[in-house]
């Protein structure tokens, strides 16, 4: 188990991708805003903007399977989590600050690599769905010869 790798997935400024599939196996993707884990990634919660994640939520309601990738945009360090959805709910008001802070941190990182902060701030982020996943597999997703290798 790569402890450092998982720690980096809790750092601010991450770009989050989510993949699902419908019952016929047709895949779908959307961008998340934040992830959180309080149990060393036995489970993780990903926050998805309501405005853009309807299809993802619809897929999860039937198939429950989900892939989440957390990437550091500055060095492309990336980790993919796969597992089964335990819960999908509307995020609570007390989670709004966490989502806002994570988006702001991403805006800071993207600003440093050329995407203006004001542009990132126009990305819809609230209200959000909070989807909790039981993590079954963790993969190294950093581009390179090790991409796709299993780390847990």
């Amino acid at each position: 188990m790569n402890h450092t790798r998982l720690q980096r997935c809790l750092e601010p400024g991450l770009s989050i991708l989510v993949g699902t599939a419908d019952p016929a196996g047709v895949p779908s993707c959307c961008r998340g805003i934040a992830i959180e884990s309080h149990d060393a990634f036995e489970t993780l919660t990903v926050y998805l903007p309501v405005a853009t994640s309807q299809e993802t939520i619809h897929n999860l309601a039937t198939t429950k399977q989900m892939a989440v990738v957390a990437t550091h945009p500055r060095d492309n360090f990336a980790t993919q989590f796969k597992g089964v959805t335990l819960e999908a709910r509307l995020a609570r008001d007390d989670e709004a600050e966490l989502v806002r802070v994570k988006l702001e941190a991403l805006a800071d990182v993207l600003d440093r690599i050329g995407v203006p902060r004001r542009t990132t701030r126009t990305v819809a982020h609230w209200p959000a769905f909070a989807v909790t996943l039981r993590v079954e597999h963790v993969f190294d997703q950093t581009p390179g010869p090790n991409a796709g290798s299993r780390v847990r």
Partner: protein, 458 residues
């Protein structure tokens, strides 16, 4: 909301990485960033297949995918519903996509490790705008060239053609071209490198926006962005260079932990913070004459219009250079021209100091006062005329006598003597201004020394 692919072409410039989701035969999803989504035509895109083995396996089991691409100016997101058709491992599409990856790989010292395995071609079943992705309506930025812009560019084409046609020498031709690119298109950082077949390298012969230090800079064929363009004889337009280099460096870092032997990273010539590059090979038939390159700090600086336009210009420039190289010699029966007023004999000027020139025979390199001056054939030429001048007092020379001297190692055809003399002249101006090579007419030059010369050979 469905949108035509042609309306979202900015999304395919690679400024913001795209994502692709696939699923295996059991429906287990996989999602990854993809380094390049290439616009093929109104109904097809191609994705670069490099390391995404899981994506690849999923497509074999379940040939459908969903990609999300983003407009780099507005950040508006679009979803593409894709049907996998085939993998191409050769052919024009593969080569076009491969060139970009090869160039980045070479630049980051990853040639051969970081490469395109296949161009995966998909039918775009539907492209749709992700409604609600932005909380504010994106600012409408017109895409493509306006009629006014096209008029300006047509005028620019006419102007450059005229300059190429009228140029009296290679140096004038190259500087006119770069001047025109700045005047008409605001390309303020440009360079022209000429191919030296004798040593398989490209040498910077003219530059604009970098200061004099760019002249004489060399790139080996196949090395870095420009060297890759030269080797492949194909135009390269890179946007978001910084993102591409970060991606390449991530792979380099990962690969460095394995057993791959890596080359040292080649410093990017020119702007240290360039975000976009346009490099165009100058060719006549299959023969490489050189490369013309432009770079900018704006990641969106070069559009497809520039690519097509500069490709036309490149053909004219290549022909112009070739013409200059062909006619470098004086006619056999022409008399030596009268001495121009600017090339006054060196003996008339007071000698102020002593310059110590050292020729390192093993490296074919000349140093002046312990500072590198020049190497290879231009160094041999300088050493020959300096020696002749010291022995006989002669200061006038002809291109023809250089060509017939086998010790200089000039190739028998297309010897680029003119460009080698230009390079020598520039290097002397920069590093030893009191020693000059002065053109005294077609196919002739003179050596002018305003300092005492001390020659040492090692």
């Amino acid at each position: 909301m469905s949108v035509p692919l042609a309306d979202i072409r900015r999304c395919f410039q690679g400024v913001i990485p795209s994502i692709i989701a696939t699923a295996d035969k059991t429906g287990l999803p996989n999602v990854v960033y993809v380094s390049q989504v290439y616009f093929v035509d109104d109904r097809h895109v191609a994705l670069s297949c490099q390391f995404f083995s899981k994506t690849r396996r999923n497509l074999d089991e379940n040939p459908v995918a969903c990609a999300e691409v983003m407009d780099p100016v507005t950040l508006q997101s679009y979803r593409l519903r894709l049907k996998f058709l085939r993998s191409e491992r050769s052919g024009p599409l593969f080569e076009t996509m491969s060139l970009r990856i090869d160039a980045i790989a070479s630049h980051t010292g990853m040639a051969g490790v970081f490469r395109l395995i296949a161009a995966d071609v998909f039918e775009v079943v539907r492209a749709e705008m992700v409604t609600g992705f932005l909380t504010e309506a994106p600012v409408d930025v017109p895409a493509g060239a306006s009629l006014e812009g096209m008029r300006t560019e047509m005028r620019g084409l006419q102007w450059v053609s005229e300059r190429i046609n009228r140029a009296v020498g290679l140096e004038a031709l190259l500087s006119s071209v770069l001047e025109a690119l700045e005047e008409y298109f605001n390309f303020s950082h440009t360079s022209v490198l000429l191919h030296d077949e004798a040593n398989h390298r490209l040498t910077t012969m003219a530059s604009r926006g970098y200061g004099a230090s760019g002249i004489g800079a060399e790139v080996a064929i196949g090395e870095g962005l420009i060297g890759t363009v030269a080797r492949e004889r194909r135009l390269l337009r890179l946007t978001s260079l910084d993102a591409d280099l970060r991606y390449g460096r991530a792979i380099r870092r990962e690969a460095a932990e394995g057993s791959h032997a890596l080359q040292a990273e080649i410093p990017l010539p020119g702007l240290p913070d360039a975000q976009s590059v346009l490099a165009i090979p100058l060719t006549i038939g299959d023969r490489l004459v050189g490369v013309i390159a432009a770079e900018d700090r704006d990641p969106m600086r070069f559009s497809e219009w520039h690519e097509a336009y500069l490709d036309i210009l490149a053909n004219q420039i290549a022909l112009g250079i070739d013409r200059m190289i062909e006619r470098g010699d004086e006619p056999a029966d022409s008399p030596a021209p009268a001495e121009p007023a600017t090339a006054a004999p060196s003996s008339a000027a007071p000698r102020r100091c002593t310059r110590r020139l050292t020729y390192y025979r093993q490296d074919d390199a000349i140093f002046v006062d312990d500072e590198y001056l020049i190497r290879n054939i231009p160094a041999k030429i300088l050493w020959k005329v300096l020696g002749e001048s010291m022995r006989t007092g002669r200061t006038e020379f002809s291109n023809r006598e250089m060509r017939v001297d086998p010790s200089l190692g000039l190739p028998p055809v297309k010897d680029n003597l003119e460009s080698r003399l230009i390079l020598l002249r520039h290097r002397l101006q920069e590093k030893c201004p009191d020693l000059q090579i002065v053109s005294t007419g077609r196919g002739r030059f003179a050596l002018r020394a305003e300092a005492a010369i001390e020659m040492t050979e090692r």
